[in-house]
Subunit: 155 residues, 2 copies
């Protein structure tokens, strides 16, 4: 369990790598993302201060997700193999986060998914490019742009 400091843009975990790391974000912002067969990135999750980020906790399986820093960040790095550090409480919390993400993805319209995102990450809108938010929502940046225009009109 040691503290590390990373610059924006640094890749902390590559897809396919056999990783045994879990990161606790002390400050800054990370993201995990899935790269599909066509090379397209789909943002799986953002991790601002206080969040955990990791692949699925199996050290003997190749990672599905890639993780990098969207801002200069300070992290606590823990080895997954030290099961003792993975307390049940934190795992349960993570399950809740994933469950909400699934319910969010299942909710019909992109506009609603955007609202859901705003609730989950109230302070991230200003910090990352819209195209990343679009990727998280599963839509194109153009579509997000249109959604935002409509939201403005309604006000």
């Amino acid at each position: 369990m040691k503290q590390i400091s990373v610059k924006k843009g640094v890749i902390l975990q590559y897809k396919g790598e056999f990783s045994d790391k879990v990161f606790f974000v002390e400050s800054g912002l990370l993201r995990s993302y899935y790269i599909d067969e066509r090379g397209k990135e789909h943002i799986f999750m953002f991790a601002p201060k206080g969040w955990i980020i990791a692949d699925s906790f199996y050290p003997d399986q190749p990672c599905q997700l890639q993780i990098d820093a969207l801002e200069d960040s300070i992290l606590l790095k823990v080895k997954k193999t030290s099961t003792s550090d993975l307390d049940v409480h934190r795992l349960v919390k993570r399950i809740a986060v994933l469950q909400n993400r699934i319910i969010m993805l299942m909710s019909d319209s992109a506009a609603k998914r955007y609202d859901h995102f705003l609730e989950t990450y109230p302070d991230i809108v200003q910090r990352v490019p819209q195209k990343m938010i679009a990727s998280y929502l599963g839509i194109t940046p153009e579509a997000l742009s249109t959604i935002k225009r409509y939201k403005k009109l309604k006000r």
Copy 2:
């Protein structure tokens, strides 16, 4: 931790209920599903023999998911509050399942999501109505019907 036996159709957990239950499926088939504001059901997960099914493990929060039996089933019912029974190993496994579900939902086409479903639950296709599979995939039964027709044509 006690064994219970339920008939097809029995609802084991209602949306909004404060539940502290986790079910291990010994035989049969359960499903968890999310009910949206318009009353539409979205199947979150199927749980055949060997799987766990539960809401997000917080006994002090109302359930987001409803759980019922799709077949006569035999279950082990565990109280979530007895943290000791929720071993880290099982939680980690559950996280992996949820992560795969998210990646599946993010993968572009409905046809691919169907393939993904067939891999995850090879023996469920014959056991549940197509409209439930469609719900799990996030599409209409009509759309699934069309996907299956195209798959047949290609063979």
